[in-house]
């Protein structure tokens, strides 16, 4: 993945227009394990949304495998997002109307428009890898924060995405659970070669990453 001159403004065209990202260039490589740090309001989540194809930049280009995503229409972007990118959000990780297992199955079900035994087996396997085989049938709202976050990671892995974007995945967890979740991700990165981009305020955790990207006021500060 390659980002070139990414700018993002809000209230475009209005007198109160503000630019949040001021021209970001960034390369993510296969199998990398990256930390994204920066003060609150520096634009980390905004950047993550653009990388994750949830949002489009006001200016600049996002290339995935050499394809300029600006040239893709909404349904193509949606499909690419579903297959190539996994998300772990800081809050509201899971869809409460479904069980933990179903949440993990969800991206695959969405993709095939229906479940199958293979999907169920894969989701169970992912849960087991997260040490959560026993909570599969719990409604997601009945689980602890750490468990929910691990289910969310399992879900992000379901489509074998090449890039996982995690926005403060450990922000709501105590340091013990945070370490566990972080270690899981690091393990997966080593085992499967999945690229992780993790937003964190925890320098200690960030230092376990391959590379730390620091943002300040909508720009990346040179290392």
């Amino acid at each position: 993945m390659h980002l070139e001159g990414i700018r993002r403004s809000y209230n475009i065209g209005l007198p109160s227009e503000i630019e949040i990202l001021h021209g970001i260039d960034l390369d993510l490589h296969r199998g990398e394990f990256l930390a994204l740090m920066g003060a609150s309001g520096s634009g980390k989540s905004t950047l993550l949304n653009i990388i994750g194809l949830l949002d489009r930049p006001t200016a600049g280009h996002v290339f995935i495998n050499g394809i300029d995503t600006a040239s893709l229409d909404d349904s193509a972007i949606t499909r690419l997002r579903g297959h190539a990118i996994g998300f772990v959000f800081q809050e509201h990780h899971l869809i409460s109307a479904f069980t933990a297992l179903e949440n993990v199955m969800m991206p695959m079900i969405v993709d095939r428009n229906g479940g199958s035994d293979a999907i169920r087996a894969r989701a169970l396997g992912l849960l087991a890898k997260m040490g959560l085989a026993h909570v599969g049938d719990n409604m997601s709202s009945n689980m602890s924060g750490g468990e929910q976050q691990r289910v969310a990671i399992a879900r992000a892995l379901a489509m074998q995405a090449s890039l996982i974007l995690a926005d403060e995945p450990t922000g709501n967890l105590d340091s013990q659970s945070a370490d566990n979740v972080f270690d899981f991700m690091r393990q997966l990165n080593r085992d499967e070669g999945t690229c992780f981009l993790i937003v964190t305020h925890n320098l200690e955790l960030a230092q376990k990453c391959d590379r730390i990207i620091t943002m300040a006021d909508g720009a990346i500060t040179p290392a």
């Binding site: 949304n49 994750g52 949830l54 949002d55 909404d74 349904s75 949606t78 499909r79 997002r81 579903g82 297959h83 998300f87 959000f89 509201h92 869809i95 409460s96 109307a97 479904f98 179903e102 199955m105 969800m106 991206p107 079900i109 969405v110 993709d111 428009n113 229906g114 479940g115 199958s116 035994d117 879900r155 489509m159």
Partner: protein, 408 residues
């Protein structure tokens, strides 16, 4: 999660299930609306059928009468009218001209089942000290009773009519103090009188009729009323009761008679039915509208509540189309579920009401008309209403920007 069920259906059902109270309340609302519609429509058509039944068993579908006698002005000389006031002549008992020919011609018309010549007049029935004015109908049992089914209304005796026999309404017999087998004296205005034996008593379910109607043989009526060989009306029974007016006009055009269909005679009833049907349609439309707005309101709220879910689903690769369908399906399911329960409640209410409300004699007030077609139409309409009212919220959900949705 069932593997065979498409993702949109699973999500729609789960969302409805999770929003328990909202779902329950809106389904209750739809149920009430649908139940009222089902109850009202079925009751109305039951009462209608019942009324038609009653009208058609106690009167013929077409009645042929002699032409009105019109007064002609007197001309003194050419173009000079002597007397400017044209008085309407008294309408004496008049026979239908050449009634045998008319009857035979009418009986052979396509769509006509039966034609019965009748002699109608009034007379005084006396037994001992008691006397009552009655309407005497002289009929041929074999042609008349298939049209006006007196045998079905007999409470005592049999429906035969020899020349010295008479059949009376039950209340008339009571008033006269007469019972089956007794004889009564029947005297007409002409001064003729006969003594007749009561062979049957009937109950038409209508006190006025039971007090004043009697049947004798055609010949007996003719001689009693001093009209040998004459008939005053020909009662006609036809296959399609709703073709009565058209057939009546055909008959009147081709024969020297006046033809009155039951539709024309009961014009008021039909006007009332039409008014009731249009008010019923209006009520249905408004119930439908309020159901639609109810569903839309619930789904709009649900879209707002679920915006984060929608955002996450979109992040996971759910397309706008899938989101749209999830909410459309919810609308359709709400409509359908409410309609199913509403149909059951409406039908149950009608069955209960049917057993509760009875006529004085214990017979049903209206027939229980629960037609499958009505239910199918109701279910279909409710589902479509649900889908339509879900379009606005569903479009809104589909348009949600995933970033905004997740941010909340």
């Amino acid at each position: 999660m069932n593997n065979a069920v498409p993702f949109e259906w699973i999500a729609a059902v789960r969302f409805l299930r999770e929003g328990r109270l909202q779902t329950a309340f809106i389904i209750l609302g739809i149920t009430i609306g649908v139940a009222v519609i089902v109850f009202m429509s079925a009751l109305l058509s039951g009462l209608q059928v019942n009324f038609l039944d009653r009208v058609l068993t106690s009167s013929a579908q077409i009645q042929l009468l002699p032409l009105d006698q019109v007064a002609r002005p007197l001309f003194a000389s050419d173009d000079v009218i002597e007397d400017a006031t044209v008085q309407r002549p008294t309408q004496r008992i008049v026979s239908i001209n050449q009634w045998q020919k008319v009857r035979d011609r009418v009986a052979q018309m396509p769509g006509v089942l039966n034609a019965a010549p009748t002699m109608l007049g009034s007379a005084l029935v006396t037994r001992g000290d008691a006397s009552r004015a009655v309407r005497v109908s002289g009929v041929e049992p074999e042609s008349y009773f298939p049209i006006i089914r007196i045998p079905d209304f007999l409470t005592e005796g049999k429906a035969t009519l020899a020349n010295d026999e008479i059949i009376l309404g039950t209340d008339l017999a009571t008033n006269l103090g007469a019972s089956l087998g007794d004889t009564v004296n029947v005297r007409a205005a002409s001064g003729n009188s006969v003594i007749l034996r009561i062979t049957g008593l009937f109950d038409l379910g209508n006190k006025a009729a039971n007090e004043s109607v009697s049947y004798v043989a055609l010949r007996t009526a003719q001689s009693l009323l001093g009209q040998a060989g004459a008939v005053t009306t020909i009662e006609v029974k036809i296959a399609d009761v709703y073709a009565a007016e058209r057939l009546a006009q055909q008959i009147a055009a081709a024969n020297p008679v006046k033809a009155e269909s039951w539709i024309a005679t009961n014009a008021q009833f039909f006007t009332a039915i039409r008014a009731q049907q249009s008010s019923n349609t209006l009520i249905r439309a408004f119930v439908g509208l309020s159901v639609a707005f109810g569903i839309a309101a619930v789904l709009v709220v649900s879209v707002i509540q679920r915006s984060k879910d929608i955002g996450i689903l979109r992040a996971m690769g759910t397309t706008r189309g899938q989101i749209l369908r999830i909410f459309l399906i919810q609308g359709g399911l709400l409509g359908l579920a409410g309609a199913i329960i509403g149909c059951l409640v409406g039908a149950g209410g009608l069955i209960w009401y049917h057993s509760l409300i009875r006529q004085a004699d214990g017979s049903e007030l209206f027939p229980l008309l629960l037609e499958r077609q009505m239910f199918i139409v109701t279910l279909g309409l409710a589902t479509i209403t649900g889908l339509l009212s879900a379009t606005a919220p569903a479009l809104r959900a589909a348009k949600l920007d995933p970033v905004d949705a997740i941010r909340g």
